[in-house]
């Protein structure tokens, strides 16, 4: 703290795992005099600088933009994906959410489809493979018509934007007891479904994405709603219903 007031003390129990196949365990660290204006990841930075000075291995965690849009960061804090505050990513979580003396258990995303690479870093490439399965409009560069040729009702464009806001962080999967990826997949299907540009490939898209999702080992949805509760972008569970309906429709139309 620089402004003279005393900061808070936090006791951390952090998951340490040397590499993918190594066993892991929770390790205790205590940090004193932390500013409530410090972000959660800045606290980990402070811890890491201390560990490096002591000749110890710093805690590995993913981060990039630190403004809640890239989707790189994400840990469980006391069992909650991205911590206790609603509608934020871990990098937007500030220590003012915690009381002096509190113990925080910090763990990586938990899912069979997200293997731990080191400490708090997991492999989320399964999400890229779901998008690669068909999460796009197949339009080659240069073949697009004039942008204003097709009018899109404002309400539809706004709705598409609500779904397209997904940052692919994986919190929905980490929070789900089935490790289901339906909120993530549903958000992309819904985004393209409400726009005219998404119509020509709609059956093929949903069928391929759902098949890939299952192949990657993500579980089924049992309507708990935990995914919506932890989503930093507040993607609504409506997209799961849209995904289910759209999938049923595609199956009826014979798409596989």
């Amino acid at each position: 703290m620089t402004n003279g007031t005393r900061g808070i003390t936090l006791k951390l129990k952090i998951w340490r795992q040397a590499r993918r196949d190594a066993p892991g365990r929770l390790v205790d660290y205590t940090l004193h005099d932390l500013s409530p204006d410090m972000s959660f990841l800045e606290m980990l930075d402070v811890l890491n600088e201390q560990l490096v000075r002591e000749g110890q291995d710093p805690v590995a965690f993913d981060y990039d933009c630190r403004e809640g849009i890239c989707g790189s960061c994400g840990v469980m804090v006391n069992g909650m994906a991205h911590g206790p505050e609603a509608a934020v990513t871990t990098c937007q979580l500030y220590l003012r959410n915690f009381d002096d003396g509190m113990t925080l258990v910090v763990e990586p995303w938990r899912s069979a489809a997200f293997p731990v690479l080191k400490d708090l870093v997991v492999d989320r490439s399964a999400l890229d493979r779901i998008i690669a399965a068909s999460g796009y409009v197949s339009v080659d560069t240069g073949s697009a018509p004039e942008a204003n040729l097709v009018a899109v009702p404002k309400a539809k464009a706004d709705e598409a934007m609500d779904y397209a806001a997904c940052i692919g962080c994986g919190a929905c999967i980490a929070a789900c007891k089935n490790a289901s990826a339906v909120l993530f997949t549903g958000a992309k299907v819904a985004h393209l479904l409400v726009l005219p540009q998404g119509q020509p490939e709609r059956e093929r898209r949903v069928a391929a994405m759902v098949a890939r999702m299952e192949q990657e080992g993500f579980g089924a949805c049992s309507n708990e709603g935990d995914c919506q509760a932890v989503c930093p972008k507040e993607i609504p569970v409506d997209v799961i219903q849209m995904l289910a309906r759209e999938y049923a429709r595609a199956v009826l139309k014979g798409a596989t």
Partner: protein, 643 residues
């Protein structure tokens, strides 16, 4: 440190009238037959807007593409954080826009330090970008008619900015990322995630591959191809605190510079006027508040220095809306460099606000009274939320506190009209090149340039290079690959072997503070000379005193950072030397010695109407300055005025 002068550079600009150059050039360039394209492979380093759009398009065309990202997925590249919008000369608003006006605004906004032909091509291509993105399903904001909406950005008097709430970069990147993943599914593109390029490999003087570190296993990998496209963004993090992401860095560009690519105009750095002010030493980055906020927000400080009242208690007559006062025709929408310097000036006068006194107000009270809270929320809701999360203040109630921060770097590797560097086969796209923004970039033009380069320019010029060059096969067992891998390994061993007492972050923080204080918003000869000396000392201390945590053969972010900071320490000297040699003020480069009586920048076209391209000759050794003269045939070199 001083420098020697080299030769004159030729930008390879095609002949003919400005508006016809690109069309004529496209016709005169060589093509690769569709059946032959699969015989070529292309390395694309970086998967932001420039890299993802280039890799996707080259994949669509049939080339084999190897795409590399330091992040765990191409979707996370820092283009994703761009908030405000993307410019295009569609003239949907019927307010007098045209390709020529976008061209002119960009040249003028860049303070007449960009190459005319490149900028004109950018303006031409801008309209195709919007078409492409809409077809991909990018959910741009629309009017009730269902047609695309536009808003205004700094440095323009027309509304030409397309946007998707405050998340335009995200939506454009996801569009490019999805196009890229489609090519992955078609096996045209192979993604190498969590890889960092640590060297460029030249064979017979041509770029033929890279050495990269697998950031999970620590292994050094060699990859060969027929051309290398560098799309690795800017170097703003040389200032430590910036709006850039934690992993944005100069290493890929700098490693190319060390292999002979010229680094152009490194001193052209952009300080963005509207960022959330610094709060403590632990801070790892600064957060931008989009320029679009200046459409409706009014910037002010108290008239009296030391006025510490709650801003809501300060009556209208005791406020100074200094941008509206000094620049009546552009008001709050002056370009970024002008707005940043004006904020610094009022803070230097002691009229800054907040606990640090290093902030000004951005006030929405008038806009909320005029338009209602709902409209403001629809336009800027996510930005207001972001501000509230960080500061725990509600901008609907209290004015935002903002201050300038390093944001974008106009300088970058030198490229010719074809986006090829002086190293044959090495193309540089997006923020990583120097080419289109001169000494200052206008808002909403970075997304435009990244996608112009990636979707439309590079696919044509790279094809022409491949078609017109005799390229034999090359193996990663070639001596050049072995040498590059060994050099990289030695560097890693060396930095781990220092085992000193100061952390990598301590060095980075100290370098950043030096650069911000002496090579930031206002630069003087004495300050720059000091910075040169101090940067050199820091570089020497780094190699004697640094300590790096973790192991080399594992995921090790401290080692990643150490290698990047080592490169910043070399690069900082060249940036500073460039700032020292350019004793004029232009755009984001402000030399206190060169100003008008009213404090505006004084450009010196007689002496400095050129691109400064630096050839690196080794640490502590004098670099060579090559100049590309800037010839203006279509615009009149004028003093930039926004008054």
């Amino acid at each position: 440190m001083t420098f020697t002068t080299g030769h004159e550079l030729d930008g390879a600009v095609p002949g003919g009238p400005l508006a016809d150059k690109w069309d004529n050039h496209k016709f005169s360039m060589k093509l690769v037959n569709p059946a032959n394209r699969r015989k070529y492979s292309v390395i694309v380093v970086g998967t932001g807007l420039a890299g993802a759009s280039a890799a996707a398009t080259l994949g669509e065309l049939g080339y084999n593409v190897l795409a590399f990202t330091i992040l765990d997925s191409p979707r996370r590249s820092h283009s994703i954080a761009a908030q405000g919008g993307i410019n295009a000369a569609k003239n949907y608003k019927n307010d007098g826009d045209s390709v020529h006006r976008l061209f002119y605004d960009t040249i003028k906004g860049g303070d007449f330090r960009a190459r005319e032909a490149n900028v004109h091509r950018l303006a031409e291509v801008s309209v195709d970008i919007i078409d492409q993105c809409v077809a991909q399903g990018v959910p741009f904001a629309r009017e009730y008619s269902g047609y695309l909406d536009n808003r205004s950005f700094g440095g323009a008097q027309v509304s030409r900015t397309f946007y998707a709430r405050g998340q335009t970069g995200q939506q454009l990147l996801l569009g490019a990322y999805q196009a890229l993943m489609r090519q992955v599914a078609r096996k045209q593109v192979q993604i190498f995630a969590r890889r960092e390029m640590l060297d460029l490999v030249l064979v017979d003087g041509r770029a033929r591959g890279i050495v990269c570190r697998n950031l999970v296993t620590g292994e050094l990998e060699r990859h060969a191809a027929d051309a290398v496209l560098l799309c690795t963004g800017g170097y703003g993090n040389v200032f430590y605190l910036s709006t850039n992401a934690g992993n944005s860095n100069v290493t890929a560009s700098w490693r190319c510079a060390r292999r002979g690519a010229y680094f152009a105009n490194p001193c052209f750095t952009q300080i963005h006027p509207t960022c959330i002010p610094v709060t403590g030493d632990y801070q790892a980055k600064l957060t931008l508040m989009s320029e679009s906020l200046r459409n409706d927000g009014r910037v002010w400080v108290p008239r009296q220095a030391g006025d510490t009242r709650d801003p809501r208690q300060i009556p209208e007559a005791e406020r100074d809306y200094y941008l509206e006062r000094r620049y009546p025709s552009f008001g709050n929408l002056v370009p970024r460099d002008v707005a940043s310097r004006a904020a610094k000036a009022v803070c230097d006068e002691g009229r800054g606000v907040g606990t640090t006194r290093l902030a000004v107000y951005l006030d929405f009270a008038d806009a909320i009274a005029r338009l209602g809270r709902a409209v403001i929320s629809e336009r800027y809701g996510n930005l207001f939320d972001m501000y509230r999360h960080i500061t725990s203040e509600d901008p609907y109630e209290v004015p935002m506190r903002i201050f300038p921060a390093v944001h974008y770097t106009m300088g970058g590797l030198w490229v010719d009209y074809n986006l090829m560097s002086n190293v044959p086969g090495l193309f540089v796209l997006g923020e990583a090149n120097f080419s289109d923004h001169g000494a200052n970039r206008l808002g909403a033009s970075a997304l435009m340039q990244g996608l112009a380069d990636g979707y439309f320019v590079a696919p044509a010029t790279v094809a022409s290079y491949l078609a017109s060059t005799k390229l034999g096969g090359v193996s990663t067992d070639h001596d050049a690959f072995k040498e590059a891998a060994a050099t990289t390994q030695n560097r890693i061993d060396r930095v781990l072997g220092v085992k000193g007492r100061r952390t990598v972050t301590e060095f980075h923080r100290e370098l950043g503070k030096l650069m911000w204080d002496r090579v930031g918003m206002a630069r003087t000869e004495a300050g720059l000379v000091h910075a040169l000396g101090r940067a050199r000392e820091l570089r020497e201390q780094f190699w004697q005193e640094v300590t790096v945590g973790g192991e080399p053969s594992n995921l090790n972010k401290d080692l990643e950072k150490a290698l990047r900071v080592a490169d910043y320490l070399e690069f900082a000297e060249v940036l500073t030397l460039d700032a020292l040699h350019r004793s004029e003020s232009c755009g984001g480069h402000f030399r206190e010695e060169s100003q008008m009586p009213d404090g505006e920048a004084r450009r010196d076209d007689e002496r400095f109407a050129y691109v400064a391209a630096w050839e690196y000759t080794g640490p502590g050794q004098d670099p060579i300055l090559h100049k590309e003269p800037l010839v203006f045939e279509n615009v009149h070199l004028a003093t930039r005025s926004y008054a």
